[in-house]
Subunit: 166 residues, 2 copies
Protein backbone atom coordinates (compact mmCIF):
# COMPACT_ATOMS: atom_id res chain seq x y z
CA UNK A 1 0.00 0.00 0.00
CA UNK A 2 1.37 3.37 -1.00
CA UNK A 3 0.34 6.43 0.93
CA UNK A 4 0.34 8.62 -2.19
CA UNK A 5 -0.59 7.03 -5.47
CA UNK A 6 -1.30 8.68 -8.81
CA UNK A 7 -4.95 9.16 -9.56
CA UNK A 8 -5.43 9.74 -13.25
CA UNK A 9 -8.84 10.80 -14.47
CA UNK A 10 -9.97 11.98 -11.06
CA UNK A 11 -13.41 13.59 -11.52
CA UNK A 12 -13.22 17.40 -11.59
CA UNK A 13 -14.66 19.57 -8.82
CA UNK A 14 -18.32 20.29 -9.45
CA UNK A 15 -19.60 23.77 -10.12
CA UNK A 16 -22.97 24.38 -8.46
CA UNK A 17 -23.61 27.33 -10.74
CA UNK A 18 -21.94 28.54 -13.92
CA UNK A 19 -18.75 30.48 -13.35
CA UNK A 20 -19.52 34.13 -13.94
CA UNK A 21 -15.87 34.91 -14.49
CA UNK A 22 -14.68 36.38 -17.78
CA UNK A 23 -11.07 37.13 -18.68
CA UNK A 24 -10.54 40.10 -21.00
CA UNK A 25 -7.11 40.48 -22.59
CA UNK A 26 -5.46 43.52 -24.08
CA UNK A 27 -3.60 42.69 -27.30
CA UNK A 28 -1.03 40.01 -26.43
CA UNK A 29 2.08 39.71 -28.56
CA UNK A 30 2.58 36.09 -27.66
CA UNK A 31 0.21 33.36 -28.80
CA UNK A 32 1.90 31.16 -26.20
CA UNK A 33 0.69 33.47 -23.45
CA UNK A 34 -2.89 33.59 -24.76
CA UNK A 35 -2.92 29.81 -25.21
CA UNK A 36 -1.56 29.25 -21.70
CA UNK A 37 -4.34 31.46 -20.33
CA UNK A 38 -6.86 29.33 -22.25
CA UNK A 39 -5.56 26.09 -20.77
CA UNK A 40 -5.80 27.46 -17.23
CA UNK A 41 -9.22 28.95 -17.96
CA UNK A 42 -10.45 25.57 -19.19
CA UNK A 43 -9.25 23.91 -15.98
CA UNK A 44 -10.88 26.64 -13.88
CA UNK A 45 -14.25 26.27 -15.59
CA UNK A 46 -14.11 29.77 -17.06
CA UNK A 47 -16.56 30.06 -19.94
CA UNK A 48 -15.34 33.04 -21.93
CA UNK A 49 -12.18 34.90 -22.81
CA UNK A 50 -12.33 38.18 -24.67
CA UNK A 51 -9.21 38.78 -26.71
CA UNK A 52 -8.06 41.70 -28.80
CA UNK A 53 -5.36 42.14 -31.42
CA UNK A 54 -4.03 39.17 -33.35
CA UNK A 55 -5.58 36.50 -31.13
CA UNK A 56 -4.50 33.05 -32.23
CA UNK A 57 -4.52 29.85 -30.20
CA UNK A 58 -1.87 27.17 -30.29
CA UNK A 59 -3.80 23.94 -29.80
CA UNK A 60 -0.86 22.05 -28.28
CA UNK A 61 -0.63 24.64 -25.51
CA UNK A 62 -4.29 25.62 -25.00
CA UNK A 63 -5.35 21.93 -25.13
CA UNK A 64 -9.08 21.43 -24.54
CA UNK A 65 -9.26 25.02 -23.37
CA UNK A 66 -9.32 25.94 -27.06
CA UNK A 67 -12.67 24.17 -27.52
CA UNK A 68 -14.24 24.55 -24.11
CA UNK A 69 -13.64 28.22 -23.45
CA UNK A 70 -15.43 30.62 -25.79
CA UNK A 71 -13.08 33.00 -27.57
CA UNK A 72 -14.65 36.37 -28.33
CA UNK A 73 -12.38 38.63 -30.39
CA UNK A 74 -12.79 42.39 -30.44
CA UNK A 75 -10.93 45.28 -31.98
CA UNK A 76 -10.90 47.13 -28.69
CA UNK A 77 -11.66 46.27 -25.07
CA UNK A 78 -13.31 49.59 -24.29
CA UNK A 79 -16.84 49.05 -25.78
CA UNK A 80 -17.13 45.48 -24.48
CA UNK A 81 -15.97 46.50 -20.98
CA UNK A 82 -18.57 49.30 -20.97
CA UNK A 83 -21.24 46.78 -21.97
CA UNK A 84 -20.20 44.29 -19.29
CA UNK A 85 -20.24 47.08 -16.71
CA UNK A 86 -23.87 47.78 -17.65
CA UNK A 87 -24.54 44.06 -17.13
CA UNK A 88 -23.31 44.44 -13.55
CA UNK A 89 -19.94 42.83 -14.01
CA UNK A 90 -17.20 44.14 -11.75
CA UNK A 91 -14.14 45.04 -13.80
CA UNK A 92 -10.93 44.10 -12.02
CA UNK A 93 -7.61 45.00 -13.62
CA UNK A 94 -4.42 43.05 -13.02
CA UNK A 95 -1.69 45.65 -12.87
CA UNK A 96 0.76 47.56 -10.71
CA UNK A 97 -0.99 50.88 -10.10
CA UNK A 98 -1.84 53.44 -7.50
CA UNK A 99 -4.78 52.42 -5.29
CA UNK A 100 -4.38 48.75 -6.15
CA UNK A 101 -5.33 45.93 -3.76
CA UNK A 102 -3.21 42.87 -3.07
CA UNK A 103 -4.69 39.97 -5.03
CA UNK A 104 -5.22 37.73 -2.01
CA UNK A 105 -6.92 40.54 -0.04
CA UNK A 106 -9.40 41.38 -2.74
CA UNK A 107 -12.85 39.77 -2.40
CA UNK A 108 -13.92 38.91 -5.92
CA UNK A 109 -17.62 39.38 -6.68
CA UNK A 110 -18.97 36.37 -8.56
CA UNK A 111 -19.67 38.47 -11.67
CA UNK A 112 -16.12 39.52 -12.40
CA UNK A 113 -14.13 40.43 -15.45
CA UNK A 114 -10.38 40.08 -14.91
CA UNK A 115 -8.85 42.64 -17.26
CA UNK A 116 -5.33 41.79 -18.36
CA UNK A 117 -2.78 44.13 -19.92
CA UNK A 118 -0.34 43.63 -22.77
CA UNK A 119 3.06 42.11 -22.07
CA UNK A 120 4.96 45.37 -22.34
CA UNK A 121 2.55 48.26 -21.93
CA UNK A 122 0.16 46.67 -19.44
CA UNK A 123 -3.32 48.20 -19.30
CA UNK A 124 -3.98 51.46 -21.13
CA UNK A 125 -5.12 54.48 -19.14
CA UNK A 126 -8.41 54.31 -21.06
CA UNK A 127 -8.93 50.77 -19.71
CA UNK A 128 -7.79 51.69 -16.20
CA UNK A 129 -10.37 54.49 -16.15
CA UNK A 130 -13.19 51.97 -16.59
CA UNK A 131 -12.15 49.63 -13.77
CA UNK A 132 -13.81 49.16 -10.41
CA UNK A 133 -10.65 47.80 -8.83
CA UNK A 134 -7.07 46.88 -9.60
CA UNK A 135 -5.41 43.85 -8.05
CA UNK A 136 -1.70 43.39 -7.83
CA UNK A 137 0.39 40.32 -7.05
CA UNK A 138 3.22 41.08 -4.62
CA UNK A 139 6.76 40.59 -5.87
CA UNK A 140 9.72 39.93 -3.62
CA UNK A 141 12.53 39.78 -6.13
CA UNK A 142 13.76 40.31 -9.67
CA UNK A 143 12.50 40.51 -12.42
CA UNK A 144 9.81 42.28 -10.33
CA UNK A 145 7.04 41.36 -12.77
CA UNK A 146 5.27 38.10 -13.50
CA UNK A 147 4.74 36.78 -16.97
CA UNK A 148 1.24 37.81 -18.09
CA UNK A 149 -0.03 34.23 -18.39
CA UNK A 150 1.42 33.35 -14.98
CA UNK A 151 -0.17 36.40 -13.34
CA UNK A 152 -3.53 35.72 -15.01
CA UNK A 153 -3.38 32.10 -13.86
CA UNK A 154 -2.66 33.21 -10.29
CA UNK A 155 -5.64 35.59 -10.45
CA UNK A 156 -7.91 32.79 -11.72
CA UNK A 157 -6.59 30.53 -8.97
CA UNK A 158 -7.39 33.19 -6.35
CA UNK A 159 -10.90 33.75 -7.75
CA UNK A 160 -11.56 29.99 -7.70
CA UNK A 161 -10.17 29.70 -4.18
CA UNK A 162 -12.79 32.23 -3.11
CA UNK A 163 -15.58 30.68 -5.20
CA UNK A 164 -14.90 26.96 -5.30
CA UNK A 165 -18.48 26.08 -6.24
CA UNK A 166 -18.86 28.78 -8.92
CA UNK B 1 -6.19 62.92 -11.41
CA UNK B 2 -6.60 59.31 -12.34
CA UNK B 3 -7.80 56.81 -9.77
CA UNK B 4 -5.56 54.04 -11.11
CA UNK B 5 -2.25 54.99 -12.61
CA UNK B 6 0.65 52.77 -13.63
CA UNK B 7 3.41 52.53 -11.10
CA UNK B 8 6.55 51.26 -12.75
CA UNK B 9 9.46 50.33 -10.52
CA UNK B 10 7.34 49.98 -7.42
CA UNK B 11 9.62 48.68 -4.65
CA UNK B 12 9.17 44.93 -4.05
CA UNK B 13 7.63 43.55 -0.86
CA UNK B 14 10.28 43.09 1.80
CA UNK B 15 11.23 39.71 3.15
CA UNK B 16 11.92 39.81 6.90
CA UNK B 17 13.79 36.52 6.69
CA UNK B 18 15.15 34.51 3.81
CA UNK B 19 12.56 32.40 2.01
CA UNK B 20 13.11 28.80 3.05
CA UNK B 21 11.26 27.56 0.01
CA UNK B 22 12.97 25.32 -2.53
CA UNK B 23 11.42 24.04 -5.74
CA UNK B 24 12.61 20.61 -6.89
CA UNK B 25 11.74 19.57 -10.43
CA UNK B 26 11.60 16.12 -11.97
CA UNK B 27 13.09 16.06 -15.47
CA UNK B 28 11.13 18.59 -17.54
CA UNK B 29 10.95 18.12 -21.30
CA UNK B 30 10.32 21.78 -21.93
CA UNK B 31 12.93 24.44 -21.28
CA UNK B 32 10.09 26.95 -21.55
CA UNK B 33 8.42 25.40 -18.52
CA UNK B 34 11.61 25.37 -16.43
CA UNK B 35 12.38 28.95 -17.47
CA UNK B 36 8.86 30.09 -16.62
CA UNK B 37 9.22 28.52 -13.17
CA UNK B 38 12.48 30.45 -12.73
CA UNK B 39 10.87 33.78 -13.58
CA UNK B 40 8.08 33.20 -11.07
CA UNK B 41 10.58 31.96 -8.47
CA UNK B 42 12.64 35.12 -8.92
CA UNK B 43 9.56 37.27 -8.35
CA UNK B 44 8.60 35.21 -5.28
CA UNK B 45 12.03 35.58 -3.69
CA UNK B 46 12.75 31.86 -3.92
CA UNK B 47 16.48 31.22 -3.60
CA UNK B 48 17.00 27.80 -5.09
CA UNK B 49 15.59 25.47 -7.71
CA UNK B 50 16.79 21.91 -8.00
CA UNK B 51 16.44 20.57 -11.52
CA UNK B 52 17.07 17.18 -13.04
CA UNK B 53 17.45 15.94 -16.59
CA UNK B 54 18.47 18.29 -19.37
CA UNK B 55 17.95 21.50 -17.42
CA UNK B 56 18.52 24.52 -19.62
CA UNK B 57 17.28 28.05 -19.08
CA UNK B 58 16.02 30.36 -21.78
CA UNK B 59 17.13 33.83 -20.65
CA UNK B 60 14.36 35.67 -22.48
CA UNK B 61 11.77 33.70 -20.52
CA UNK B 62 13.48 33.23 -17.14
CA UNK B 63 14.61 36.89 -17.14
CA UNK B 64 16.46 37.90 -13.96
CA UNK B 65 15.27 34.66 -12.40
CA UNK B 66 18.12 33.00 -14.29
CA UNK B 67 20.70 34.98 -12.29
CA UNK B 68 18.92 35.48 -9.00
CA UNK B 69 17.65 31.97 -8.32
CA UNK B 70 20.34 29.35 -7.77
CA UNK B 71 20.06 26.42 -10.15
CA UNK B 72 21.26 23.15 -8.67
CA UNK B 73 21.27 20.29 -11.18
CA UNK B 74 21.16 16.66 -10.11
CA UNK B 75 20.95 13.34 -11.87
CA UNK B 76 18.15 12.20 -9.61
CA UNK B 77 15.85 13.89 -7.10
CA UNK B 78 15.90 10.99 -4.63
CA UNK B 79 19.24 11.58 -2.85
CA UNK B 80 18.77 15.36 -2.60
CA UNK B 81 15.22 14.96 -1.28
CA UNK B 82 16.48 12.52 1.36
CA UNK B 83 19.17 15.03 2.37
CA UNK B 84 16.67 17.90 2.58
CA UNK B 85 14.38 15.73 4.67
CA UNK B 86 17.24 15.25 7.14
CA UNK B 87 17.63 19.04 7.20
CA UNK B 88 14.02 19.29 8.40
CA UNK B 89 12.51 20.39 5.14
CA UNK B 90 8.93 19.30 4.55
CA UNK B 91 8.61 17.68 1.14
CA UNK B 92 5.36 18.63 -0.55
CA UNK B 93 4.51 17.08 -3.90
CA UNK B 94 2.30 18.77 -6.48
CA UNK B 95 0.26 16.00 -8.01
CA UNK B 96 -3.12 14.33 -8.29
CA UNK B 97 -2.88 11.42 -5.86
CA UNK B 98 -4.69 9.55 -3.16
CA UNK B 99 -4.55 11.31 0.23
CA UNK B 100 -3.71 14.66 -1.35
CA UNK B 101 -4.74 17.99 0.21
CA UNK B 102 -6.25 20.90 -1.71
CA UNK B 103 -3.50 23.45 -2.28
CA UNK B 104 -5.33 26.33 -0.56
CA UNK B 105 -6.15 24.18 2.49
CA UNK B 106 -2.60 23.04 3.05
CA UNK B 107 -0.62 25.05 5.62
CA UNK B 108 2.89 25.27 4.26
CA UNK B 109 5.70 25.04 6.83
CA UNK B 110 8.31 27.70 6.18
CA UNK B 111 10.95 25.09 5.38
CA UNK B 112 9.27 23.54 2.38
CA UNK B 113 10.38 21.82 -0.78
CA UNK B 114 7.72 21.88 -3.49
CA UNK B 115 8.37 18.74 -5.53
CA UNK B 116 7.20 18.97 -9.12
CA UNK B 117 6.63 16.12 -11.54
CA UNK B 118 7.44 15.76 -15.23
CA UNK B 119 4.97 17.05 -17.82
CA UNK B 120 3.71 13.62 -18.81
CA UNK B 121 4.54 11.15 -16.07
CA UNK B 122 4.20 13.44 -13.06
CA UNK B 123 6.05 12.34 -9.92
CA UNK B 124 7.56 8.88 -9.79
CA UNK B 125 6.36 6.47 -7.10
CA UNK B 126 9.88 6.57 -5.65
CA UNK B 127 9.51 10.35 -5.20
CA UNK B 128 5.95 10.06 -3.87
CA UNK B 129 7.18 7.62 -1.23
CA UNK B 130 9.51 10.27 0.21
CA UNK B 131 6.90 13.02 0.54
CA UNK B 132 5.31 14.36 3.71
CA UNK B 133 2.28 15.68 1.83
CA UNK B 134 0.82 16.04 -1.61
CA UNK B 135 -1.10 19.14 -2.66
CA UNK B 136 -3.48 19.24 -5.54
CA UNK B 137 -5.04 22.17 -7.38
CA UNK B 138 -8.74 21.64 -8.04
CA UNK B 139 -9.87 21.49 -11.66
CA UNK B 140 -13.37 22.28 -12.83
CA UNK B 141 -13.07 21.61 -16.52
CA UNK B 142 -11.07 20.25 -19.42
CA UNK B 143 -8.18 19.60 -19.98
CA UNK B 144 -8.37 18.60 -16.28
CA UNK B 145 -4.67 19.29 -15.71
CA UNK B 146 -2.69 22.47 -15.41
CA UNK B 147 0.50 23.10 -17.28
CA UNK B 148 3.41 22.22 -14.95
CA UNK B 149 4.79 25.77 -14.86
CA UNK B 150 1.31 27.18 -14.22
CA UNK B 151 0.67 24.72 -11.39
CA UNK B 152 4.10 25.39 -9.84
CA UNK B 153 3.47 29.13 -10.05
CA UNK B 154 0.11 28.72 -8.32
CA UNK B 155 1.80 26.69 -5.57
CA UNK B 156 4.47 29.37 -5.10
CA UNK B 157 1.73 32.01 -5.01
CA UNK B 158 -0.11 30.06 -2.31
CA UNK B 159 3.05 29.57 -0.25
CA UNK B 160 3.81 33.31 -0.48
CA UNK B 161 0.21 34.18 0.40
CA UNK B 162 0.71 32.22 3.62
CA UNK B 163 4.20 33.58 4.29
CA UNK B 164 4.26 37.11 2.93
CA UNK B 165 7.26 38.16 5.02
CA UNK B 166 9.30 35.02 4.31
Amino acid sequence: MYKFEHVRHKPPTELKVERLLIVACSPLRSHVNLSTIFRTAGCCGVREIIATGNAKLIGKIARDGAEHVRLTTKNSLIPVLKKLKQEDYTLVGLEQTTNSTQLSRYCFPKKTVIVVGSEREGLSQECLDLLHAVVEIPVWGLPYSYNVATATSMAMYEYCRQHPAG
